[in-house]
Amino acid sequence: MSKNRKKPQNGLNLQGADTNTVENVSTQPQNDDKTAPATSEINKSDKKTLKPQKATEGASESLEKSGADSLDKTNPETGNVGSKPVSNVKDNKGKAAKPAKNSKPISENAAENSPLKKASELAGAFRASLKIKRHKVTVEKEEAETETSVEKSVEPDLENGDKEADVEFWGNVKQHVLSANPVFVKVIAIIPILGAATSLKNGIMLSFVMILTVVLLNMIMYPLNQHLPRGYRTLAAFVVSGIIITPACMFANYIAPSVTALCGIYLPLIAICALPMIEKKHYGARYGIAKTALDAALDGLGFAFAAIVFSVVREIFGNGTLYDRPLPGISQMKFSFALLPAGAFLFLGLLVALFRKIYGVSEDNDEDEVE
């Protein structure tokens, strides 16, 4: 019992009362508390109710005053001081008070509780308003930061046109190509890059076919998705991508047969890799087909960026050439591990880690998403 009494007194002085002390006091037997002086117990109960809510200093002072005033008003009427604090503490904790022997303290408790509850409600409301203010301030700061970062990337020549539209457009480009790159950040559509991006020519061919496929696929699937039921959308998209990829491969074979032969089986596999790049957020009616096609083209541009970066890195490391021309100084040092499957996995893993480091993406809840 001595510990239970000392802690609230420290709390009075240091303004650091914990919730544990409140529980200890509330669980005290009734007989022991009769020895304690009444006024100190009342003040304790006031502070205990107010401190755990972490109100600010001004609010707590005003609330203490109101609580103390209400208690002072009720005390002289009854004059029965000794049995009051026990039931007081119990009621503040929220437990149902047992019917005491004296009928007076119960009626007084009903009168005392209402201002205390009001005070606690006031403190809660004040705290909530403070939180909202802080949240608003942080949101405004973040918006200002993003706006400045976007504006820096915009060229100053574009002041004559619609500046907001330009800022939005360049932000969109930056998001699709860099910060939400479909290969280096989202790690979808990695198979053609792993398999065929061993030289810059292959990378250009892959990116060309991919942009063509993704744009056409999105433009065809946008009206189809309005009518198809949900279970058949993936199936329809798969068939449509097959319809698109066949003439695309023929066109690629017509332009550059040798590069198409080098890409081999990985060029028609773009049909499957384009499936996750359908803009599913555009299923709603508020986007038009033009915006869908634009976003799809930006996604394809992100793939092209990834393919060209990856193929250049692999060609320089593995073959010592760039666009099939030997580079001076490096052409003799061939690190052919980069052209093997193991090298492809390793380089892609390192590049994904690099992009996640730059753009602050991380998988914290990777164990939750299990298909």
Partner: protein
């Protein structure tokens, strides 16, 4: 074909020409399926079924329809149509005969059928085209087993990686890719073996 040829085909499909580690036909679904062993096993089994049936049907179509009439330029669309029909019929069969498993297989069936491993294996079969009907079907089955083996090896390797606490940027897919690189390096030891079929 005799037994030795079938044996050599099996070794070739599972280890020498592994779909995941040598041909790199793995997408995000491969690494997502690694996270729980049961779904990985079901996923690998579905992929095995898809590779077997699709390589069988694609050989028939390629032999009797595409080659004689000079429609080889139409092969991507034809094979994609085969796989789409396969997935559609599998969904219908599951809904008809095993409706209790419909919710379990709702995500796994498209993920295993619309997989790069299945379509890539069909294209590889067409490229080689000297195994015959039985050989192609058996090769498709063994390639699916190779996919399952790669899934099993990578799952065990990544379970060990999970206890070693990689750094924050490597956590998840990047460390999985680096692990796949090391496993692929190990499977390159089989690459000297020359198999006639």
């Amino acid at each position: 074909m005799n037994g030795a040829q079938f044996w050599s085909l099996a070794v070739s499909a599972i280890f020498v020409q592994n779909l995941v580690m040598v041909y790199m036909l793995c997408d995000g679904g491969f690494f997502k399926a690694l996270k729980s062993p049961v779904s990985g096993l079901v996923y690998g089994g579905l992929v095995t079924a898809a590779t077997t049936i699709s390589s069988m049907l694609s050989w028939l179509l390629n032999r009797f329809l595409l080659r004689p009439f000079g429609f080889t330029w139409l092969s991507p669309f034809t094979f994609i149509l085969i796989i789409a029909l396969l997935e559609f019929s599998a969904e219908k069969l599951v809904a008809r005969f095993a409706p209790n498993y419909k919710n379990v297989l709702r995500k796994l069936l498209p993920a295993s059928a619309f997989n790069c491993a299945v379509l890539g294996l069909v294209f590889l079969n067409v490229q080689v085209n000297m195994r015959g009907f039985l050989g192609t079907t058996f090769y498709g089955f063994c390639a699916g087993l190779g996919y399952l083996a790669a899934l099993f090896i990578a799952a065990n390797a990544l379970e060990r990686v999970r206890f070693s606490a990689p750094s924050k940027i490597f956590k998840g897919l990047p460390i999985a890719l680096v692990t796949a690189s090391i496993i692929s390096l190990g499977l390159m030891g089989f690459s000297g073996i020359v198999i006639p079929y």
